[in-house]
């Protein structure tokens, strides 16, 4: 049984770092207050914090443990929810895994268990946003032939979105830039990787780009049936938060003279 005062484990923000933290939290047998990589989560007076170094071998052992003792579905949940934008996601995943190591496969039917509920919520939230942003991403062609898209999701979605876009846009090198989390996915025509970015210096847009944007907005405006106008419904399905990156809602591309 864990004992002593509860501790906060801090790690470097990588997936392997998180798995290492799970390993250590088990090995050290102390009650866990939180696991986090977020600097803004501050400790209270007398709160003990432990910084953990990422350890690949420990990470692999935890990964194998999840797969064997709980199952592939649980590992998938962890791999997806790891990118959640919710503050408590690391702690929630840790508690979910603890429950999983106790319950084994039975965790999949333990749909009313509080730790399972929390992780299910994270999963629903992130996959729903992933579905949305897959659609709400707009690429622009730059004069060097590279395509660029800027997104601002609430979850850290770039790592989850890259395989999707690489699969269908393999004909063009592109950059998928998350301005909220300062992370960009780069596809160079062969493979893809992630880079941390703050600002980016982008080349100019290609000559035909403005024309495509104008035509897209023209289509967008023309396809709505005026007699059915329903702003509330539109906003419910496509929250305003996402509008800033949508070409079709940018008044600068309104049809000329209409």
């Amino acid at each position: 049984m864990p004992d002593g005062p509860a501790v906060i484990y801090r790690y470097d923000g990588t997936f392997d770092g998180f798995l290492t933290a799970v390993f250590e939290a088990y090995a050290r047998r102390r009650p866990v207050k939180a696991i986090t990589a977020r600097e803004e989560i501050q400790m209270g007076w007398g709160q003990e914090e432990i910084f953990l170094e990422t350890h690949l071998e420990k990470a692999r052992r935890v990964e194998a443990g999840i797969r064997n003792k709980i199952g592939g579905t649980a590992l998938h949940m962890v791999e997806v929810c790891f990118w959640s934008g919710e503050e408590d996601k690391d702690t929630a995943l840790y508690r979910y895994l603890r429950a999983g190591f106790d319950l084994g496969r039975n965790i999949y039917n333990s749909l009313t268990h509080p730790h399972v509920l929390r992780v299910e919520y994270l999963y629903r939230n992130i996959t729903r946003e992933q579905d949305r942003v897959q659609g709400f991403t707009r690429f622009s062609e730059m004069e060097n032939g590279v395509y660029y898209a800027s997104i601002a999701p609430k979850n850290n979605l770039v790592p989850l979105l890259m395989p999707h876009f690489v699969d269908r846009l393999s004909i063009q090198p592109f950059l998928l830039h998350d301005t909220e989390h300062g992370l960009a996915g780069v596809y160079d025509g062969k493979g893809w990787y992630l880079v941390e970015t703050q600002g980016l210096n982008l080349p100019n847009l290609s000559e035909r780009e403005q024309e495509f944007r104008r035509m897209w907005k023209m289509f967008y405006d023309a396809v709505a049936v005026k007699e059915r106008r329903n702003d509330k419904l539109r906003q419910h399905l496509m929250p305003k938060w996402y509008w800033r990156n949508l070409t079709e809602l940018d008044p600068r591309y309104a049809a000329k003279g209409k």
């Binding site: 749909l111 707009r138 393999s170 049936v225 949508l246």
Partner: protein, 439 residues
């Protein structure tokens, strides 16, 4: 005329077709080629009317030799006419797709000269996209009524989904309003598509590399409100279309009057709530194991405006309720208002682990506001809830009024003309699903 003007005119002519989905087929990408498809479909945007934009929905041409009374493109309509060249449209689709504006193309057309000529032009556009540009995104193509079997077959080898719109629910209406389109000209292509899909299934079993024919199946659409057909006739017809032609979807489109047409009385508003109720009934047919004649019958030919069709059914069949959630089978769980396909599945899984109480049901995302009147946990109803028809009716409709506001506001006055009540909103999920047409 520049390409932008063409795009505008040919979008205006296509927008009343409500099929918006890009669902039904999974196709992964191939390196060096553009595009793929996801079985659930992807909405890329939502238009000002709240409808999902998934495909570049345009006409190849808005010239039409026919004169269907309900249609913006009919021969006698006073609109500017234009036609895309197959290459213009293929390039536009390709350019839109690589910017992630769309999942693919939804191509329809007026009857340019004659049905077969139109089909050849459409097929040429699709051929360019698929063969010359190597495009692997989604394509939904409308078969022109009256076109030859051979052309339908060629189109089906290029498209993911084929559709022929029935448009009008009955033969009488069709004869009156679409005099150039005899009923066989619609049903014959539907049958040809169904046969094509069926044969292709066998071929694919025998040879893995047989080309696939309309792998995302077929669909059709009916206009609602332009003719006196009842809801009962409409859902019966939908049911038979699913059975006979194996349609993946039957879409309903509240009729929006077109300029110069006199089909509708003055003050007519598109019947959006009625359309919505029909989608809910359609949902019951497709996913909840209902038959059309359980939902409505000759003596009750219209769907209730205050209750959704499942609530209506439950209230007139209280003999089946309350249902014990710890023992009821899947089919019965699905009959409970407030329990959907997902929550029924979750109940079945969770009760292998624990005996369920009301607190659990909330966590399993059962909509308790509606379900509470129809269920027991371990033999008991939720404390304070009475099983009495009038009370349930009052409460369910009360909730409905409180929840209104997301949809259908403009038609409150119109509705009250015939029922004196206020429209009900379905669960938000249902609304989204109905409107985005996914699943």
């Amino acid at each position: 005329m520049d390409l932008g003007d063409k795009l505008q005119i040919l979008t205006e002519g296509a927008k009343y077709d409500v099929a918006c989905t890009s669902s039904g087929v999974d196709r992964s990408g191939v390196k060096g080629r553009l595009g793929g498809a996801k079985v659930a479909g992807i909405c890329h945007s939502f238009a000002a009317d709240g409808r999902c934009i998934s495909l570049l929905k345009v006409l190849l041409s808005n010239q039409c030799s026919y004169n269907c009374a309900y249609c913006v493109n009919r021969r006698s309509a006073d609109v500017q006419r234009t036609t895309f060249t197959p290459r213009e449209l293929a390039e536009l689709t390709y350019g839109f797709y690589r910017r992630n504006y769309i999942e693919g193309l939804f191509l329809s057309s007026g009857v340019l000269k004659n049905p077969d000529y139109t089909m050849e032009q459409m097929i040429e556009c699709l051929r360019l996209l698929r063969e010359e540009y190597g495009f692997r995104g989604y394509i939904h193509a409308k078969v022109i009524p009256g076109s030859s079997r051979e052309l339908i077959y060629r189109m089906g080898l290029l498209a993911d989904r084929l559709s022929v719109n029935l448009e009008l629910p009955s033969e009488v209406s069709l004869n009156q309003l679409a005099p150039d389109k005899p009923r066989e000209n619609i049903f014959r292509p539907m049958a040809a598509i169904a046969t094509g899909i069926e044969q292709n299934r066998h071929e694919l079993v025998r040879y893995q590399h047989a080309p696939s024919f309309a792998p995302a199946g077929s669909s059709t659409q009916m206009v609602i409100g332009a003719t006196p057909d009842t809801d009962y006739q409409i859902i019966r017809l939908a049911e038979s279309l699913y059975q006979k032609y194996k349609h993946r979807r039957v879409f309903f489109s509240a009729y929006v009057p077109v300029a110069g047409s006199e089909l509708t009385p003055p003050g007519y508003q598109p019947p959006l709530l009625r359309e919505h109720r029909l989608y809910q009934a359609d949902w019951l047919l497709r996913f909840y194991g209902f038959r059309a004649d359980e939902i409505l019958d000759e003596s009750h030919p219209y769907l209730d405006s205050l209750l959704d069709p499942k609530e209506s059914w439950a209230l007139s069949h209280l003999e089946y309720f309350p249902v014990e959630v710890n023992t009821a089978d899947r089919a019965m769980l699905l009959r409970v208002p407030g329990i959907g396909v997902t929550s029924a599945e979750r109940i079945l899984r969770a009760r292998r682990q624990t005996r369920l109480d009301f607190d659990h049901l909330q966590k399993l995302r059962v909509v308790m506001k509606r379900a509470q009147y129809f269920i027991t946990c371990s033999g008991k109803m939720l404390p304070g809830v009475r099983f009495d028809r009038d009370g349930i009716y009052r409460n369910l409709t009360l909730e409905a009024r409180r929840r209104q506001g997301l949809l259908f506001e403009p038609e409150v006055t119109q509705l009250s003309l015939f029922d004196g009540g206020k429209p009900l909103l379905a669960g938000r999920e249902d609304v989204v699903k109905c409107l985005t047409g996914q699943l």
